[in-house]
Amino acid sequence: MTEHELIWRIAGGSGDGIDSTSQNFTKALMRTGLDVFTHRHYPSRIRGGHTYVEVRAADHAVKSRGDGYDFLLALGDSFARNPQASGEAYYGNEEVKPLSENLDELREGGVIVYDEGLLDTDEVENFDERVEENDWHVYPLDLRGLAREHGREIMRNTAGVAATAALIGMSTEIFEELMSDSMSGEMLDTNVEVLEEAYREVSEMDFSHDLEVPTGSHDEEQVLLNGSHAVAYGALDEGCRFISGYPMTPWTDVFTIMTQHLPAVGGISEQVEDEIAAASLAIGASHAGVKAMSGSSGGGFALMSEPLGLAEMTETPLVLVEAMRAGPSTGMPTKPEQADLEHILYTSQGDSNRVVFAPSTVREAYEQSREAFRVAYDYQIPTVIVIDQKLSGELASVPASHFDREPNADLGSVLTEDEIQEAAHHASGTFNRFQHDPENGVSPRTIPGQKDGRFLASGNEHTPQGHIEEDPDNRVAQVDRRSRKLEAIRDDLDGQDHSNQTYYGPEDAEHGIMVWGSQQGSVEEAVDRLNDQGHSVKALGVSDLMPYPKKEVTEFLESVDECLVVEMNVTAQFRGLTQKELGRFGETMSSLLKYNGNPFEPAEIVEGFEIQVNGGDEPPTAQTRIEPAAGD
């Protein structure tokens, strides 16, 4: 705990409204001028089950959930109880209670507010001893009673937020503002009454803690978005107007957001019978001249493997999202992991090419979502945007100006009707859709309905006119042409005014940490701490996975003595990819791995790094694992 930041955790049963309450609270903190970042933990069930959301707010940039937290608001598990016969367990026999479950990570000097109408400290082993030991400050409040008295029981979240505000020195105004954004009438009035009443009651209490909300100010207007929103908004801005999907956590978020907005902008969303259909529909729409996307999570993406190859072979632009969760099979639906990397890189048969982007932050998710469309349509190739359950659901404050850009609805390498007349035609008059010669491999296409642009797209190997053909020379020419695209794309990405790779820390540092995707923020925080402790460390976050940024990674690895590769899987997939792509560095890279369903905390990376530097291979904590370098 510092005066510069606060980490607040709200915990309770799934269905308690934890999500919406925490979102509002986060927004309120953002509106006071703080940078915010959230971490969501929820079980794979609809009602009941323990869930919490952590909100980290600081007067400086926040990049991860941080380690531990300062303030616990423990609600009950109301929805797990029978509303009629109050107190009766209704959905299962919940052993996990918001109070006992959350204490392990509460920092010294932290604050606990709990709903004494539903929770009892007697249930928590050695509660009083632990409170004393850790110098916790405990405020039992009858949130349920308060809400019932001034409104409805369901509003005890509001009472809890009011209590928090009173205890950390925030005013209620900002919450009232937020409430009036989303409700009206009696609903609003009673909520405001509960808010004010709870605030008043708590303000009158004696406080023993010295925890306060930091003060901050933004230079620019901020917005609160998660990774799914960023991917969806990037897609919309790049002219995507067709989405097809089948629900699967956590991909469903992107799908839902797109579905919510598409009709208003004249777009089409289709929930279809399965993921094979979903990807195939996106191909059909794209073939017919619309920017289209589909996506799924691990298992659903597995079903898309054949359509993915079809898009490559027919050179139909296609953008897929893969929102990873822990696998294999249905694995852990609500827990993040980065273990689908190889699946995404190599799924589908044959020498197939695709472009893979793995954004690491909400900002980058928007950036790379746009890039994924641009590349798919310019190069007529499938692109995959890889996010994970963490990035998809975490909220972060981002300057609104980040999204203030021109839309781009350009279909890429498509001919106009005038151009078709001049384009290469076979003696028969047929348009040569799949010419062998283009330098960057991209042979411009036409859209069904355009005059004289007829061609046959085929998943079988084909001639320049699109007819099935197994002639060896034609095969080699077509494979070579399609393969040239990846080199051209690498050059194109390198030539952008921004790199998708993120460098962090002092340029001349001795040690390196490499990371991909959503774990980058935690790594950056760890790098700061390590350098403060006297180490010499820098980090490289890689977000372009295919084509692999060979030059950048090679330079980075050559510039350090050794490198720790941080990722959330057990098979060190990203490190394996790096070794495969670069053909060396086996002796200088070791891995810090985590696969328990929770993302890395900066402290775990700090510990892991120290062990690596000291030459050990003992796990830094029971929850992570060190995979030594090949030569060790």
Binding site: L281, E417, S428, T430, P448, G449, Q450, G453, R454
Partner: protein, 315 residues
Amino acid sequence: MSKSFSAIGAAAQDDEIDREAFTPGIEPQATWCPGCGDFGVLKALKGAMPEVGRTPDETLLVTGIGCSGKLSSYFESYGFHSIHGRSLPVARAAKLANPGLEVIAAGGDGDGYGIGGNHFMHTARENHDMTYIVFNNEIFGLTKGQTSPTSPKGHESKTQPHGSAKDPIRPLSMALSSGASYIARTAAVNPRQATEILTEAMEHDGFAHIDFLTQCPTWNKDAKQYVPYTDVQQSDDYDFDVHDRREAAEMMHETEDKLYEGEVLTGRFYVDEDRHSYGEEKRSTGEMPEQPLAERYFDDDYDWERSYDLLDAHK
């Protein structure tokens, strides 16, 4: 109409379209065996297109994988030769993206009723405005003669050496119960009826399913697809109302049994002119734009919406 799709609608009024327009300039070497029923489908389709008044440029033919899937190679139009069983999802999205296109999907009985069965059910259910031709030869042709979903019970093949223990599926009934609004069966041995039915199917506003009996002389000499058939619309013995769901269902059931007993009945089995196509339904709920979406990308004056305008909810 946007300049980029000038093909659509224009030619139909101005020029005569003849069947030769649908014959590729460089006809790829036919891989179909002599005597294959697939030739009959091709012929009938080429015959139907001028009747419908469609040009090759405004037609999209999406096929699956199988001997039947090669149809798109021998038919001059925009084509998409997709993967096994997936012609329907590709085709229906193309229709949603550009309703101006004449969209036809085609594939075999293995392709359409086996691996693609789920898509068949759902595409019929949604009643997309398109035509779906299933080449029903009661066998897997391209993979060399395995038992297919329409092979009769007891059918022996290398993969079912003891004879199939399964009853064949009932494609017409399946289409009906799934929601198709036009259902017919025709046969390659009679291109005249087939042409008529294909024409009607394309003119129909909704999902038109055609179970097209085709013979496979190479792997399935026993099938009944060669024998003369009875047109249920021409025969007084089969008096039923094609607009009546119940009567149609009964007729289909009877027909589906009779096929394996040697009596081949063809014709229209169900026509529902009142049901709205999926596109219309989607437009009426505001889920689909009036103007073909694909046109917008060629419209230089269109003012593309930006996500920036959605950010208020995030402030």
